[in-house]
């Protein structure tokens, strides 16, 4: 076959695949916006699930994701600091780095099963803490990897300058190295938050769901994503509309946080 023709065919196919990829994004966003916006009313935000709104679900989902973040960010950052600053080059650090990478891709439903066995079954029922812990377990490996990679970008000279001034190791890390990597780590935190706020599988049998407004993390806790899953399978039109409204709002939250993360890092450059 003519090699110039073959070249054209392959390049056309490649452009075509990019077009297919983008059209799916627009297709999904278009149907979501259409179905979502037409289903949103003022009462969607002011009522709880029991009255056909998502107020308690939004508060519940954010509460669990924020608790997860409060746990995962310090733990993940400290682990990343160990891998890059203390244990750098050691066998142990490389083993931990690899295991953490594997944990990052572990099936989320398995993490749900694990937390069920650990925090739900022994404590007599679904609870918000279990949901938050499941989300934290998903988030920690992402923060570790981000911190590790961002600290790697900090030039060694900065550390040496700190040492030359007589700074102790932990002061150098906290006040020079982490500060220099601040923007990158912030982006990582935002992106991982966007990821866990949309998670469903780890919450199905940890926090489960609650129709009422509650801040009591020791009992069943309202979840936006779990509600979407339940509502979508109900036969009545009102439930489906609410599921679309909730899906639209969830997607907007996720995409906005995502773009915000990218914006933060772009502004630095």
């Amino acid at each position: 076959m003519n090699r110039l023709l073959l070249n054209k065919i392959i390049l056309t196919l490649s452009i075509l695949s990019a077009l297919i990829g983008i059209s799916f994004l627009f297709w999904i966003l278009a149907t979501l916006s259409y179905k979502g916006i037409t289903s949103i009313h003022w009462s969607t935000f002011t009522n709880d699930l029991v009255e056909g709104g998502i107020r308690n679900l939004l508060v519940g989902q954010f509460t669990m994701a924020l608790i997860a973040t409060l746990v995962a960010v310090p733990v993940g950052m400290m682990a990343g600091i160990y891998l890059r600053e203390y244990g750098y080059g050691s066998k142990l650090a490389s083993v931990i780095r690899n295991l953490s990478d594997v944990m990052m891709s572990a099936p989320s439903i398995v993490i749900g099963v694990f937390v069920y066995a650990l925090l739900v079954d022994p404590f007599g029922g679904y609870n918000g803490w279990a949901g938050a812990v499941a989300l934290a377990i998903m988030m920690i490996p992402i923060i570790i990897s981000t911190t590790d990679n961002m600290l790697a970008l900090v030039p060694t000279e900065l550390r040496e300058a700190g040492m030359a001034l007589g700074g102790s190791k932990h002061k150098i890390i906290l006040q020079i190295v982490v500060r220099a990597a601040k923007v990158g780590i912030t982006t990582g935190v935002l992106l991982s938050f966007a990821r866990i706020i949309g998670e469903t599988a780890p919450l199905l049998f940890t926090s489960a769901n609650n129709q009422f407004f509650t801040m009591d993390l020791t009992g069943q806790f309202p979840s936006l994503t779990v509600s979407i899953y339940n509502l979508a399978t109900y036969p009545d039109e009102a439930s489906r509309e609410l599921a679309w409204a909730a899906s639209f709002i969830l997607t907007m939250i996720v995409l906005i946080i995502n773009l915000l993360g990218r914006f933060v890092i772009r502004n630095k450059k």
């Binding site: 110039l4 999904i28 690899n98 990478d101 439903i109 398995v110 066995a117 190791k169 998670e199 899953y229």
Partner: protein
């Protein structure tokens, strides 16, 4: 003093991932014991999932969900791999920077959309199309496989793009100087150079597809039934867990843990293979 404390806390945090991984394995293994002792290896090829009278005993086998997981993943991989390669080639070799940048962002946003949204969209908009085109009743292996493919394409394309981008321009330019066409440069210079990364990205996407729960839960049909056609509804390990784990008791519960253990171990092996054998860990 503060330095020591800081160092210890950082060391403890680092070891946590190790304990989590071992902890998950140990807990799943522990709770799967009852099922393992009752069924042994027969669990892997038993097609029945039947609770006994009064929730006592019963026969449970993982064959159907395992086959369902495997088949939906294969469909997804067959569809996603060529498309993801095409997108990666488009982004690295064809598009100008002004086009590649927004397309890259769009593809990455596609990866950020929560899987439950793919499920909703797939159930109400995509399943009817599949039904009209291929017959069946809308939900089933094929629908789940296609939507799964849409989900893993951006992920696969992004990693492939990154590894294609590592090809030194000098190599590409020398090939162009010899009169090679773009396709020949891609095939003979870029592909061989970034082979490891490309295979790694495919295997990582495979690991994702195996463990994906919510999108598949909406679309695969969730019935304990061995599919005979590609449009038949069936179930998968994550979907069975998502729908029935919470209500299960005793031996059935233990069988669920057994399935979760199988899924965990298989993903562990696949991800490790991708990361260490193909993607390599860029040391430093």
């Amino acid at each position: 003093m503060g330095g020591k404390l800081f160092r210890n806390f950082s060391f403890f945090s680092a070891t946590l991932s190790f304990f989590l991984l071992v902890g998950i394995f140990a807990i799943l293994f522990h709770y799967a014991q009852e099922s393992m002792h009752t069924f042994g290896f027969d669990f892997l090829w038993t097609e029945k999932w039947e609770p006994g009278e009064d929730d006592e005993g019963g026969i449970f086998g993982g064959y159907i969900p395992m086959v369902g997981t495997l088949l939906s993943t294969i469909i997804a991989m067959v569809l996603a791999t060529p498309l993801a390669m095409g997108i990666a080639i488009f982004l690295t070799e064809i598009a100008s920077v002004n086009v590649a940048k927004p397309v890259s962002i769009a593809i990455e946003l596609l990866a950020a959309i929560p899987s439950i949204i793919y499920g909703m969209w797939g159930l109400f908009y995509f399943a009817p199309i599949v039904q009209a085109t291929f017959g069946g009743n809308g939900v089933g292996l094929l629908t789940a496989g296609i939507v799964l493919a849409i989900m893993i394409i951006p992920f696969m394309a992004a990693i492939t793009r990154d590894s294609m981008n590592t090809t030194p321009s000098v190599l590409k330019e020398s090939a162009y100087a010899m009169g090679a066409t773009k396709f020949e440069v891609i095939k003979d210079v870029i592909m061989p150079y970034s082979k490891g990364g490309i295979i790694g990205s495919i295997i990582l996407a495979l690991g994702r597809a195996l463990g994906e729960t919510m999108a598949v839960a909406f679309l695969i049909g969730s019935v304990m039934h061995l599919p005979s056609k590609i449009t038949d509804p069936t179930t998968s390990i994550p979907v069975l867990l998502a729908n029935n784990f919470a209500e299960a008791e005793d031996l059935e519960m233990s069988s669920m843990y057994f399935l979760a253990l199988i899924l965990f171990v298989v993903s562990f092996i696949i991800i490790s293979l991708a990361k260490f054998y193909f993607l390599g860990r860029k040391v430093n």
